[in-house]
């Protein structure tokens, strides 16, 4: 009787089943910049998908228009020096940017998270080796590492992703290690150990879910960094080899003739900038949404 009475009283007062994630999503939607970022990125993803099956002109075909032609009704963003349609190439370039950005972060997560978890939880010699490696990689300039790797492995999409991931995994490993170091001292980890949980269960079942917020934010900021780095490599001529269209490569081709046909540089630059900005807005929004202290 007492139990049912208590049930009647407590149930309606208790908040809706608000998990951390639905709560975060609610707060993210209220952030206009983040929402704009999400909408723009959805658009970019759709463009990238569409470009795989359809573009106004074939991406690789030269001579579809007059070389260096300015934007006109047939070629909305003009034509490049080889007579290829810039809009078509811009659309296809979105694929490369997204694949590089997301692929790199998947690699970074796959490497950084387990290493960070293990180093923070087990500490000792393994942690010392990991910390040393992190510091070592921070010490060497990113560009040098990437250049050497691309040079050794040869320029291809996969190798570019690997090369960028090699220069980026430390951020994630260091973040996760730090989170783990503080979480491992929490009482619920001791309670889990006292309940007989195995180390793998503690790492991935208890510590990781608690560190997921910062990890997601870090990964979201990592995507535009990787995209920019790829564009930079392409601009230097060390990115995904031509004729595959990449935004960095397109800007590099256009820069020489910027006075004749500025659209060749401006179009990929704006596409790149907007994408980077959208990811950063999304990252900012996620950081606010996933931070329990900033709960409004």
């Amino acid at each position: 009787m007492a139990a049912t009475a208590a049930a009647v009283v407590t149930r309606p007062i208790a908040p809706e089943q608000a998990s951390l994630w639905s709560d975060a999503w609610r707060r993210l939607r209220r952030n206009r910049l983040a929402l704009a970022g999400v909408i723009y990125l959805t658009f970019v993803v759709i463009v990238a998908l569409v470009s795989a099956v359809w573009t106004p002109y074939p991406t690789f075909q030269v001579g579809v228009g007059i070389p260096y032609a300015a934007p006109n009704t047939h070629h909305l963003l003009g034509v490049d020096g080889l007579g290829r349609d810039t809009l078509s190439r811009l659309m296809a370039g979105a694929q490369i940017s997204l694949i590089v950005g997301i692929g790199t972060q998947i690699l970074v997560l796959a490497v950084g998270v387990p290493i960070g978890l293990a180093a923070g939880y087990f500490r000792g010699a393994f942690d010392q080796v990991v910390t040393f490696l992190i510091n070592l990689f921070y010490g060497i300039p990113d560009l040098l590492v990437a250049l050497i790797l691309v040079f050794l492995l040869g320029p291809s999409l996969t190798n570019i992703i690997i090369a960028i991931a090699v220069t980026r995994w430390m951020d994630m490993a260091r973040l996760v290690r730090g989170q783990t170091l503080s979480l491992r001292e929490r009482e619920f980890i001791e309670a889990a150990r006292a309940a007989g949980a195995k180390p793998a269960k503690i790492l991935f079942g208890h510590i990781l879910p608690n560190a997921l917020g910062p990890i997601i934010v870090q990964a979201t900021f990592g995507v535009p960094a990787a995209i920019l780095f790829e564009a930079f490599l392409s601009f230097l001529g060390l990115g995904v080899p031509p004729p595959t269209p990449t935004w960095g490569g397109m800007a590099a081709e256009g820069i020489v003739t910027i006075r004749i046909s500025p659209a060749m540089v401006i179009a990929p630059s704006i596409a790149l900038s907007l994408t980077l900005m959208a990811f950063n807005f999304l990252g900012d929004g996620l950081r606010d949404a996933l931070d329990p202290r900033g709960r409004r």
Partner: protein, 364 residues
């Protein structure tokens, strides 16, 4: 009590489920070795509820953590045996001790707020305790979780299963922790100050729940607390710890009635009583708990003891039987202190006051 009835009583006692022998846990710090647990020996019998009392830093929590080899980092178990089901828990492999944790010996912690994982559903965490030991299928675990929550009297258990810890009250969280502890029907439940973080009325409910579970399920409970009231309410036997050692042990009634170690005596004297006379002052124990980096020579309690004699300054008293079933580690014991030093009428409780061995008069 004559010899033959004593022997009969011994026969009636079942074999101990857990035997701790000369357990030693030390912390290696920059300043030296801290002996947090220093030669602790005791037995735990099936189905009993044993209280371990002592001040902060007396080694009671470390004793409990040592049993499951959960001592935090600079700490090391350097000696002793813990016999459970014919195996020494200190010698078995990491995998074997992991199987015992939570399955045979479960533990619940002080602060239910922080001992539940905030991002996981409460019911999921309880079910997980069963799945970790492959005690049940997912389906069974889910069903049994609801049963357990009902058993620890959480109202509307069916819907509470999906709640996150922040949606539960402090008392309910501790109930959930107890449910998790009981998930695999362990033979021993170690409760490390389970009521400290709760308010008084909820404390009483939790203690009542533990007492009922002890009766109904026959789970042996090891209750770690600094609260004599908790011991009086729940336990049948009690160990009193001081500076990493057991100074007195025995049946709760007997020890409350007639403590033999001056420390136990002082502890009991320092409990506020509702029926105290107006002019009676509440007594605290003079001095501070010893620095375990440099424990005092002789009896560890002698710097604070009103009844100390010369021998206490130099020789560590062994834990010996002073009354039937009651052991105390003291050269003087309270019987003698009462007879010879007038302990019952003592007003001045400064160290050495009753025995005349006051601080200024100590001859090194």
């Amino acid at each position: 009590m004559t010899r033959s009835t004593r022997a009969d009583a011994a026969k009636r006692l079942p074999a101990p489920i857990l035997q701790v022998k000369d357990l030693q846990t030390q912390f290696l710090t920059h300043d030296g070795i801290v002996k947090a647990v220093d030669g602790v020996t005791f037995d735990l019998y099936p189905g009993e509820s044993l209280g371990i009392v002592g001040e902060s830093g007396s080694g009671k929590s470390m004793t409990a953590l040592s049993l499951l080899r959960l001592v935090p980092d600079p700490g090391k178990i350097v000696g002793g045996k813990v016999l459970f089901r014919d195996q020494d828990l200190m010698q078995i492999s990491d995998e074997e001790i992991r199987d015992i944790r939570g399955r045979d010996i479960a533990m619940i912690f002080q602060d239910p707020q922080s001992s539940l994982n905030p991002v996981l559903q409460t019911g999921f965490q309880i079910a997980e305790a069963m799945l970790a030991h492959k005690k049940a299928t997912k389906q069974q675990a889910r069903q049994r979780t609801v049963e357990l929550l009902k058993r620890v009297r959480i109202p509307a258990a069916e819907s509470r299963v999906k709640d996150y810890p922040h949606q539960l009250s402090g008392g309910m969280r501790q109930r959930a922790m107890i449910a998790m502890g009981l998930a695999n029907a362990p033979s021993i439940l170690i409760a490390d100050e389970p009521t400290t973080a709760l308010d008084v009325t909820v404390q009483a409910q939790i203690l009542e729940l533990l007492a009922d579970l002890n009766q109904e399920l026959g789970t042996a409970i090891m209750m770690i607390t600094h609260n004599m009231g908790v011991v009086a309410g729940l336990c049948t036997r009690v160990l009193v710890m001081y500076a990493g050692q057991i100074v007195e042990q025995g049946p709760v009634d007997q020890i409350f009635e007639n403590p033999q170690h001056p420390y136990t005596w002082s502890l009991l004297k320092s409990i506020p009583r509702v029926d105290a006379l107006r002019h009676e002052r509440l007594r605290s124990i003079e001095g501070l708990a010893p620095d375990l980096l440099r424990p005092p020579k002789g009896c560890r309690f002698h710097p604070r003891c009103p009844f100390r004699v010369e021998k206490c300054l130099t020789d560590l008293p062994p834990l010996t039987e002073v009354k039937p079933d009651q052991l105390a580690a003291c050269w003087v014991t309270m019987d003698r202190a009462k007879k010879e030093m007038g302990a019952d009428h003592l007003l001045d409780i400064r160290p050495g006051a009753a025995s005349g061995l006051e601080p200024g008069k100590i001859i090194p």
